[in-house]
């Protein structure tokens, strides 16, 4: 399935999908679509199409996903139902389909409970339809920093399938949360003091009156009172003459931490024993198509965005290109 066919499919099923707009090399706004070099295709085989979903941050109380609007859960359910129908339709054409989620699906830092299992159960109880649809797909999760507890305490794989990183079709398409090497390290080696403090704080947040005050303090402290990326939807300017990976085209955006993300991608390459062509990340909630210096190459780096504060961003991965979309 081609990108335009996928967009048309969503629209035919009642979901208006638009491409993100970023500033191209000519200074004009362009669809945020990454195209491979002429004659080449996105190495998606054996899949026919894939959807990449970024951070969602389902939580209890101080919930950046719902953020005082219960209709946002209904909208996510509608999107997941559409993905199920798309999966079945592609399966009928003998084409594979994957849906990878880039981590921070659960926000365990903002849910009461004494264990990852208890926190997940509390969030699941708030979003039963979402969980049922994710299991039916199944949605394949990466571990983020807000659900890093799943490294040591993973859910049963038939309930939620978690991994530190994933590939899409071939190992040349890599998905991970977008940690630099320090936060990646913190997944493996827990900061128990932070975990204990957050566990205690989230229990206090459930108290009447005092809990409302401490939840407000938490939201102020972790800057989740508002979406701090909402006004940063355009790309940073480029210096003249800087291009992306050889032959690839996109309205490239600048990214300050790309050099260190390149080190992480290089580490995954050594683990996979293969060069990566495109890496998908979340974490920053700032979508855009960029690239990272990896060894002597430039690897396309796609930040897919988030579903926090009413945003609905995702990537459509087709053989002829990768598009950053939103509902």
């Amino acid at each position: 399935m081609k990108l335009t066919e996928a967009q048309a499919w969503f629209q035919a099923h009642g979901l208006a999908v638009s491409w993100r707009q970023d500033i191209g090399l000519d200074g004009k706004l362009a669809d945020a679509i990454l195209r491979p070099p002429p004659g080449a295709s996105i190495p998606l085989d054996p899949l026919g199409l894939a959807i990449v979903v970024p951070d969602i941050h389902l939580a209890v109380g101080n919930d950046p996903f719902r953020f005082n609007d219960v209709n946002r859960a209904r909208r996510l359910e509608g999107f997941l139902r559409a993905l199920l129908a798309l999966r079945d339709e592609l399966g009928g054409q003998f084409q594979g389909f994957d849906c990878v989620q880039l981590g921070d699906f659960y926000d365990l830092m903002r849910a009461p409970g004494l264990s990852a299992h208890a926190k997940r159960a509390n969030i699941d109880a708030q979003y039963p339809q979402v969980m049922q649809l994710c299991r039916a797909l199944p949605m394949l999760h990466c571990i983020g920093n807000h659900d890093k507890d799943f490294w040591l305490e993973p859910p049963p794989t038939d309930e939620a399938n978690y991994a530190l990183a994933r590939t899409l079709g071939s190992p040349q398409l890599l998905c991970f949360h977008g940690h630099d090497k320090v936060t990646m390290f913190n997944i493996v080696v827990h900061n128990w003091a932070e975990t204990l403090a957050l566990t205690a704080l989230n229990v206090i947040n459930t108290l009447p009156l005092l809990g409302e005050f401490t939840a407000w303090l938490q939201a102020t402290g972790d800057q989740s009172l508002e979406d701090d990326a909402i006004d940063e939807t355009t790309s940073e300017a480029w210096d003249e003459g800087v291009q992306g990976p050889v032959g690839w085209t996109a309205p490239w955006v600048a990214r300050a931490d790309a050099a260190d993300l390149g080190n992480v991608i290089r580490g995954f390459e050594k683990g996979l024993g293969q060069q990566v062509q495109v890496a998908f990340i979340g974490h920053s909630h700032r979508p855009g198509i960029s690239w990272a210096p990896v060894a002597t190459r430039r690897v396309a780096l796609i930040d897919v965005g988030s579903w926090t504060y009413g945003r609905t961003e995702f990537a459509i991965v087709a053989t002829d290109g990768i598009g950053l979309a939103h509902l």
Binding site: K181, V182, M184, F185, V189, N191, W192, A193, E194, L196, A197, T199, A200, L201, V203, I204, T206, L207, E236, W238, D239, E240, G241, V242, Q243, G244, V246, W252, V253, A254, R255, A256, A258, A259, D260, G262, N263, V264, R266, G267, F268, E269, K270, G271, G273, Q274, Q275, S290, W291, A292, P293, V294, A295, T296, R297, R298, L301
Partner: protein, 183 residues
């Protein structure tokens, strides 16, 4: 019961606010084996490097990843001064290792050219070997020598950046490590 638990949680919160987590190892590792050229395991590397019997002076046949140099060489990685062309069109600092100072190490001397014969042959246009001495409290100094691998010099792509043409073309690899052991 719930109230007692919540009170306990409040006390726990107060008790943990002043705590700092232990500082676990998260930097690079110098890998040594008698008779082999030392190697640098970078922070994101999943396993130690395969140590070679001879210095790397030409591309090697590879079974997995192509034998390609890293974006930052061993010397700059250890010293935290690696510069790469980033997607802002400007040079960015890359940190394949954490700072030596984070782990109590400090540079005693160098890096300075030491005048020894280049590992990759006098006929090749190699940059001079560099010596670096580092130490930390309670440990004997490490004397580290780096050699330039001309086959890994920066490509034009890596320097196609504002200020990128000023980058050194040298690519320094770990060559020799000695310990001045006080007995």
């Amino acid at each position: 019961m719930v109230c007692k638990f919540q009170l306990l949680s409040l006390l726990l919160l107060g008790a943990t606010l002043g705590c700092s987590s232990a500082d676990p190892w998260r930097g690079c590792t110098l890998c040594l084996q008698t008779g082999l050229v030392p190697g640098l395991q970078r922070a994101a590397d999943p396993k130690p490097p395969l140590l070679a019997a001879e210095p790397h002076c030409a591309p090697l046949p590879s079974t997995g990843l192509p034998d390609e140099p890293e974006s930052v060489d061993d010397l700059d990685a250890l010293l935290g001064r690696g510069r790469v062309c980033g997607p802002s069109g400007q040079l960015s600092t890359s940190h394949p290792c954490t700072s030596l100072g984070d782990h109590g190490w400090r540079v005693v001397s160098g890096p300075t050219p030491n005048g020894s014969r280049p590992y990759c042959g006098a006929a090749t246009p190699a940059c001079p070997n560099q010596s670096l001495t580092i130490t930390r409290k309670g440990a004997d100094p490490l004397l580290v020598e780096f050699y330039d691998d001309p086959s890994s010099h920066r490509s034009a792509l890596a320097t196609n950046c504002a200020g990128g043409r000023d980058l050194s073309p040298c690519y320094y690899r770990l060559g020799h490590i000695a310990i001045a052991m006080r007995l």
